[in-house]
Symmetry: C2
DNA sequence: CCAAAACTTGAATGACCATTCAAAATTTGT
DNA sequence: ACAAATTTTGAATGGTCATTCAAGTTTTGG
């Protein structure tokens, strides 16, 4: 057994038991820490200043680093934005699969999708705000566009898989469109909210929308 | 009776009967024509290049003018953006009051709001796209933020007025949130659509959502 | 036709910014 | 401890862009 004590620039950053030898882990650690710090600073700063206006220097200052270090770690501004979007997508995916594991019926799985999207850790003003910024700018950045396209396809196929077991075949596409629009719309409005968000209420309302859309009343 | 023949730079721009004398009208005309041209060019160019990346020179080129002329007519880039947003808001408001005039019951007025938002002349990819760009950037531009805030309050009060006659008091706010989120979400997704939009289908789907949300099933 | 008003723009201005780079600081492996 | 690898950044670079301005062009009013 090895006790890891990660010291960087005279500061103790982390103490934890480790079973692997230090060398390979520690070498990666600084890079990982900087990545995390810079991505977190990006979320905060883009929310504060807007995607269009934010500069490398501002993000770096928020992270307590220099603009040059962003280039060192991410290659370019676009690289940082891509990494930040990946980070958010990863968080969303993690929340989703977690909920899926619990759900047993199609409607529970639809609930799970909604619960993931409105989870406490994701449904916050800065994150909804930055999500929207990325959304708006994805068509103009090949790297963001790619991530966006892949994620979109994944979400659509999830919805379709569950809805096909819940509504008539000719209703599936309409129901998917309604659910997805609702979900996106809530995020969009949350991004412009002043106070903190009530994620529990959002989940509750979303469940009701799922109920409505999958009810027999939906027939044209 | 006077026949107006508007000639500018050797080109006949407009011939029409007029009852007012030429002087005051014609003096305003060139300004109006340039305003329209530049705003139209702004919509096209922002859709093509993105709010974050678009430059005055690009917009001017699209309009067949010089970047300096934008400053002459709108004072600044932000002034142009504000004027463009005003233009879109005016269009939306016009479509809305038109529908309202026809509607006689609360639910018909809700249909009318949806029909206005998904009218043929408004529900196009470039307009949904630019709308979303403005939406995303409004919080960072005082002048856009102001327009956005005013419009938002207007739409909310419209929804509340009709819903208060259709659903139980404790359901009003939830229903409004659902309708508005759906509406926003559809625009957001339309902005990212590849092909042309089916506005008729959007209206039809929106009516169904109105029906669902105002049905008695909505009870928690 | 003419003077005044309105319009147009090329070029200049000044500011801002992402990225690069070389040198310095820190950490790592042995 | 010390050489190699990694990390950090101040300053330089090159480019972009909104805005201004002065000098022209076109239109208007009479």
């Amino acid at each position: 057994m090895v006790i890891q004590v990660l010291v960087f620039r005279g500061e103790i950053l982390n103490i934890q038991p480790g079973w692997r030898s230090l060398d390979s882990m520690a070498r990666k650690r600084i890079r990982d820490i900087r990545n995390e710090e810079l991505i977190e600073a990006t979320i905060v700063t883009v929310h504060k200043r807007g995607y269009a206006a934010v500069t490398m220097a501002e993000i770096a200052r928020e992270a307590g680093a220099s603009a040059a270090s962003i280039s060192y770690y991410f290659g370019s501004k676009e690289g940082l934005m891509e990494a930040t979007m990946r980070h958010l997508l990863r968080k969303l995916r993690r929340a989703m699969v977690e909920g899926y594991a619990q759900a047993e019926t199609p409607i529970e799985r639809l609930y799970a999708v909604m619960d993931a999207n409105f989870a406490d850790s994701l449904f916050t003003v800065p994150q909804c705000s930055i999500w929207m910024q990325f959304w708006a700018n994805a068509p103009y950045s090949p790297r963001l566009a790619r991530l966006h396209r892949i994620n979109r396809a994944r979400v659509i196929s999830h919805f379709l898989a569950e809805l096909s077991q819940l509504v008539a075949p000719d209703q599936i596409e309409t129901a998917r469109q309604a659910l997805q629009s609702y979900m996106d719309g809530v995020w969009l409005q949350a991004a412009q909210s002043d106070g903190p968000l009530d994620s529990q209420a959002a989940r509750f309302a979303a469940h009701r929308v799922v109920d409505l859309v999958t009810s027999r009343e939906m027939v044209a």
